[in-house]
């Protein structure tokens, strides 16, 4: 646990117009783990700048450091070298100010809490009065389409619904930045399509900045304004693809059939293959 004191009740203030346009700035980031017998190079010289309102997908083969990169932004891992700023602060300061909401691969809901009280958890930690907490939790559950499930326990919900609860929980304290680590990785394709659609609508209506880790090319192209293609370990950025130019902001599942979509998906696949080629 950190020695620094958590910030008092204040939620993250809504970014004023004077706020910097760049939300996350990563410069020459390198991260090396000391494993039992040899060092593991997880990330190598990664630089990336993420603007307010962006939806960035990190895509790459397993173990390429996508999750590690996001955990560095969240101050859950310490980089070996390089600089990271979040809202102009160090990741630790940003974490202490509760600048981001984090959605993990697994829903990580507390089984002893009802759905509603799970969403209220961060608000409780931040010291929000009980009545406000409840109202805020209900709003967030409504936003992810789970009204009426407030009093259920997590195990009474399907996997997709549980992951929606965890998204509502991440949004509950209204952070500007949403970090999502393969949130739909464990779900079937139909549920996944449905949640992708919901997520893109949620992103349009809330205008959060999102960083999204995924294995799925289709998911990445469908959701993102920009796609960051990463190489196998040590993770480096191979390509950054701008989807916003060719695809509309408001997207339906149909656009996956469009030639623009296919072209971008092809370029992502090329990038991934290129990353793999020197593996053989």
């Amino acid at each position: 646990m950190p020695a620094a004191q958590p910030a008092p009740l204040t939620l993250v203030p809504p970014a004023a117009d004077t706020a910097p346009r760049t939300i996350v700035d990563i410069r020459n980031l390198t991260l090396t783990y000391q494993a039992a017998d040899h060092p593991v190079y997880a990330l190598s010289d990664v630089s990336l700048s993420i603007a307010k309102g962006d939806f960035i997908s990190l895509i790459g083969p397993s173990g390429c450091g996508k999750t590690t990169l996001m955990r560095v932004v969240a101050d859950l891992e310490q980089p070996t070298s390089g600089e990271v700023t979040v809202n102009g602060m160090t990741p630790e300061q940003a974490r202490l100010k509760r600048a981001y909401g984090y959605v993990f691969q697994a829903p990580a809901l507390y089984p002893w809490r009802t759905v509603e009280r799970n969403v209220m958890l961060p608000l409780e930690i931040m010291g929000m009065p009980k009545a406000d907490r409840q109202q805020r939790a209900r709003e967030q559950l409504d936003l992810v389409g789970l009204s009426g499930f407030e009093r259920k326990f997590p195990w009474q919900l399907s996997g997709g619904m549980q992951q929606r609860v965890s998204i509502a929980r991440a949004l509950a304290f209204n952070p500007d930045l949403l970090l999502m680590d393969e949130p739909f990785g464990a779900l079937d394709e139909i549920t996944r399509d449905h949640l992708n659609l919901q997520l893109t609508r949620l992103w349009l209506s809330t205008r959060k900045t999102c960083i999204f880790v995924t294995h799925s090319i289709a998911e990445a192209v469908f959701l993102s304004t920009r796609i960051v293609v990463m190489s196998p370990r040590p993770g480096r950025i191979l390509d950054v693809i701008d989807c916003d130019r060719d695809l509309p902001r408001e997207r339906t599942l149909d656009i996956r059939e469009s030639p623009e979509f296919q072209r971008i998906a092809h370029r992502v696949r090329e990038g991934l293959m290129e990353g793999h080629s020197y593996d053989d």
Binding site: M1, P2, A74, W112, W155
Partner: protein
């Protein structure tokens, strides 16, 4: 649910009764044979069986003898009388519960300390384990003597011996429980920049409750054993342990068995009460794991 379970429960109870009666006939037969031979007249197998089931001081009393003794004791005297077994059960239960309470406080405090400070694990845990390798029968009289010298008699020495037996499963279960939180949920608390105390209260403690209650069931049964063992050397006049002791002095095997049955009933009741508390305090407990 209940109707589905009635048959197996009844079959099991019947099997226990049949075995018990068979055991009574077998164990009491030599003494009964002696008695019949001394009477001088001829006897049949039916006579022998009847005699084995109705002995005054049987090696193994029959269930109906024990039941009759329990009935007479429970209904024949007021609850405050030392001839009423319920009075003795109450005395033992008081000591057991006081010891259980002390054991819970000690066990949980030790577990919290061990989880929060790694050094305590290596410095404290060996002593905790060593304490349980000492036979309680050996240490109980010494605790009674020492505390008696210090002027403590009655409930306290018994409660301490009960606590000595029951803090151990609580410590072990609670340490496991406090460490059972999923690493992801710990990361989650970190993203909320929750403090150590908040993480303990909102995550580690509730996550440990299923483990704690499993330990509590073991511990509450152990506390009854501890209280009874503690009543043996105190030479007290009251308590199930005292009844066991006086029963064996005077060869009153029926009295011993009545006390044993009451002790078992007491343990079953206390374990069931812990189960009820678990249902009330651990929401979603019946839903199993995540």
């Amino acid at each position: 649910m209940t109707t589905k379970h009635t048959l197996p429960v009844a079959v099991m109870a019947l099997a226990v009764l049949v075995l018990w009666y068979a055991g009574a006939v077998w164990l009491n037969a030599p003494m009964a044979t002696d008695a019949l031979n001394r009477a001088g007249q001829g006897w049949t197998t039916a006579d022998l069986i009847r005699a084995t089931l109705a002995m005054k001081r049987p090696i193994l009393p029959t269930p109906d003898q024990v039941a009759l003794d329990l009935y007479n004791s429970l209904t024949g005297y007021p609850v405050t009388s030392i001839r009423n077994l319920l009075y003795h059960t109450g005395v033992t239960a008081g000591a057991a519960l006081a010891g259980f309470g002390m054991g819970v406080v000690l066990g949980v405090a030790l577990a919290a300390g061990i989880v929060q400070a790694r050094t305590l694990e290596s410095s404290l845990l060996p002593w905790v384990i060593a304490s349980q390798t000492v036979p309680i029968l050996a240490i109980a009289p010494m605790i009674v003597v020492i505390l008696g010298n210090l002027g403590f008699t009655g409930l306290l020495p018994k409660a301490i011996i009960a606590a000595y037996l029951c803090f151990f499963p609580i410590t072990i279960g609670m340490v496991k429980g406090l460490r059972s939180a999923d690493p992801l949920t710990l990361d989650l608390m970190r993203t909320y920049s929750a403090g150590t105390a908040q993480t303990f209260r909102l995550l580690r403690l509730p996550a440990s409750l299923p483990y704690l209650f499993t330990s509590l069931k073991i511990a509450v049964a152990a506390s009854v054993v501890g209280a009874i063992v503690a009543e043996l050397p105190t030479g007290g006049q009251a308590g199930l342990g005292a009844r066991l002791l006086s029963g064996s002095y005077y060869g009153q095997t029926v009295q011993i068995w009545s006390a044993l049955v009451m002790a078992a009933l007491l343990s079953v009741t206390l374990v069931a009460a812990v189960g009820l508390a678990e249902r009330a305090l651990v929401p979603g407990a019946r839903g199993g794991a995540r």
